[in-house]
Symmetry: C4
Subunit: 254 residues, 4 copies
């Protein structure tokens, strides 16, 4: 295996494509949105990316088979004259410092190969407590994109998203800028303790508006309801003063 | 020394060999089985693998001499018309992320050189408490192997082995799949706190069935009995309410 | 992107330049001084340095745009016959061990290209408690520079700065010595818990004396006053015996 | 700077040299012995080794000048017909995994260049409590060396030195064996909490016997007496039941 191995499974021709990245991260918000899109649009996998910068492990599927950690790129061809999509998701992000840079460069190579007009990166912004009011924070690598995103209800707060955006969601903007590719990041507010399909819904809404797409939300809603029940139980436990260590029991529930 | 240095000690001709990997890991289950096989079969060492991805240390033998950390491959030629064996064991696994990938690729190179028909990787699956009922969980890189292993009593649980298999036992399946080598993993349930020869016995039984091999178990049984005594003492201490920190005294007893 | 990518934005001709390095570090003392100099002198950015040894993230500007972590070099041409300046600052230092060496070598390449006569590196020396009396400790890569710096009130204590100077501020001296470039380090005493503009003032004063420069201090004074208020509040809280964990609330206030 | 930069300061011709390695480690025992030898024998520095695998910092000398972290090799020519010496000491060991291997290989290259007949590596063996009775444990890369060392009172215990010898002291034996260079390790029993000149004396005694050397011990004795006073104070504090955390106050006193 090479340091980064790009396996092209299928050649497709895309018109005016937009790249959407949703890799694992805080609250798994980005990945939830990307996977939801892939399923709802029935997007087709065209690329697998393997790398020794991913964790040295395999993941076990429900049928007992395994898969190597990888990133994947899916293509979707719009039936109307809208833009086509390249959706990036995957099992893991790099576990080494330089791997983050290399894998992002690989994604940008693909973006350039398919001549994407812009990139949306998706993630969560952890605030350390349960979110009362959903909202989506933004960042972009061109000031005109900031202005555009405000129209879709994206918030820009001077002190947030707290200085830095880590991993592919950030580097696609930073390294994309060096290549002249417009890119913006949508971060759903989330506690940071739980997988957050509700935050994913909020991000998806903004994305659909920006892309003028219509996507069914039911699957995310169902998952959000399940999580609501988990949260209710946690709150009751808290009220009942059942002694517990936050790390232990609230942990990171998937 | 090269990044990975393969020292071939002896050339052997093997018929229809199967590779069995048992490197150090949870409960040391895999290594116990591999070393037991090597001893019982009187297998012959044919390869030593050195690497700067192993810990920067030497191990001290009982006679005061030292050895570099390494992995080793042993060969065993069956006297009947059964398959021959290539058994992989060693002192340590890689301590770097990429080293896990490189060393697994090296093992797969050997597997291909000797034209192995399949690979069994062995390990433990830590459940964080003493195991009441021994069982062996499985995973494989082809669905037909999953079906085959069920016949030998291997369990496949939808939620377990908990998402991922770390290290050579996992990567041999994942990277093996990319090369088209059938591979399966046997994980003995174990507490995760103690070296577990009892779990090793359970794994060995499944392996012997799958390979149609007969192997004496006495050495593992003896070691398991010793460990039982240790566990009994720990349980009594717990009953007697002797205050202790789990990490300190239960620790990781070898 | 290359391992270290030096983007030359502008070619300048400098006379007898001195290099001043102030990258992030203890109390952010060095960076505060370097940024103050850049602003007061209206120095011009001539070089950007990107590297995958910086953290894999982007930083969010107040206007919602982002920037990659980088180091930067600014040039200032003196109007009198004094020496010109090359001022090094940036968002981050390397997060890998070898990256510290590589980036320092890159800075030394620039120093040699511009034929700098000497290098001043700036930083903080954390003493673990609030500083009662400001002072500036020194170190140098030639004994004659030690003597010279004593004239500017720089202190040399046998037991301090406690053995080692970590990062670019140290390596520019050590690696500079191998290239024969005179270099000295100014370390302002600081608590180590807070960004310390007061310590930065002390360092700047010494630097101005050594370079025979006149620089307005007001901006640093204003910021120091703000910090004084923060410290006063912390002291009151301490007196009032409000229970708190030092890490949590005193933390590292920026 | 190259990954490992060997600066040869002086060419010497040595007769039948023995290499002695004493780099920083547990109780600093090895380094204390090596530095004591260098001083007592007035050995001459012939090689400096720089590497980006050392910590990214400079060390400050008492006169205010700095030095890069490095390893050094000193030569001593015996006036009698005894063997000459190559003594290895230094500021630090590698901080990366592979660096330990590379630097050891560099030392072995030197050993071969000077045709050393054998290598002694020196270190401490931390037992986690104050040492009641000094003793020196051994390990070697040939069984005949084990036998030889027993004659000098070196102890070989089946369960100790506890499995592994980390760093250059271990790897010189392990990698040396691959090159056919006889090498043995002397480990002085030490608490592991304090620099231990008393343990260093015990190691030096064995070494002198093995090399048929006579070395004054006064400097080590003086330093050991100073440490005794520190230990006495610590014991009194313990008796007086002054509450303290071991890590905090016993720490690692130099």
């Amino acid at each position: 295996m090479e340091e980064i191995e790009v396996r092209e499974l299928k050649k497709v021709k895309l018109e005016n494509p937009v790249m959407i990245e949703g890799l694992p991260g805080v609250g798994n918000v980005g990945k939830l949105v990307a996977e939801h899109l892939i399923q709802e649009l029935n997007a087709e996998k065209i690329v697998e990316i393997y790398s020794w910068h991913f964790p040295p492990q395999v993941l076990v599927n429900n049928d007992g088979t395994v898969r190597l950690c990888k990133n994947e790129v899916f293509a979707w061809k719009s039936k109307t004259k809208q833009q086509d999509l390249l959706i990036v998701s995957g099992d893991e992000q790099s576990v080494t410092n330089e791997g983050h840079y290399f894998i992002t460069e690989t994604l940008l190579d693909l973006a350039q190969k398919y001549k994407v007009s812009r990139i949306f990166t998706l993630g969560g912004y952890g605030i350390g407590q349960l979110v009362e009011k959903q909202s989506v924070l933004g960042a972009a690598n061109e000031i005109r994109l900031v202005e555009e995103m405000k129209k879709y209800g994206v918030e820009f707060r001077e002190e947030e998203p707290g200085g830095s955006i880590v991993g592919a969601s950030g580097l696609l903007l930073g390294l994309g800028r060096l290549r002249g590719i417009p890119a913006m990041c949508l971060l759903g507010l989330t506690s940071g303790y739980l997988v957050d399909p509700k935050s994913a819904q909020a991000v998806l809404k903004v994305l659909c508006q920006a892309l003028n797409l219509e996507i069914g939300m039911q699957a995310l809603k169902d998952r959000a309801e399940e999580m609501e029940k988990v949260i209710e139980r946690l709150k009751e436990m808290e009220k009942a003063q059942i002694p517990r260590h936050r790390e232990e029991e609230l942990g990171y529930i998937r």
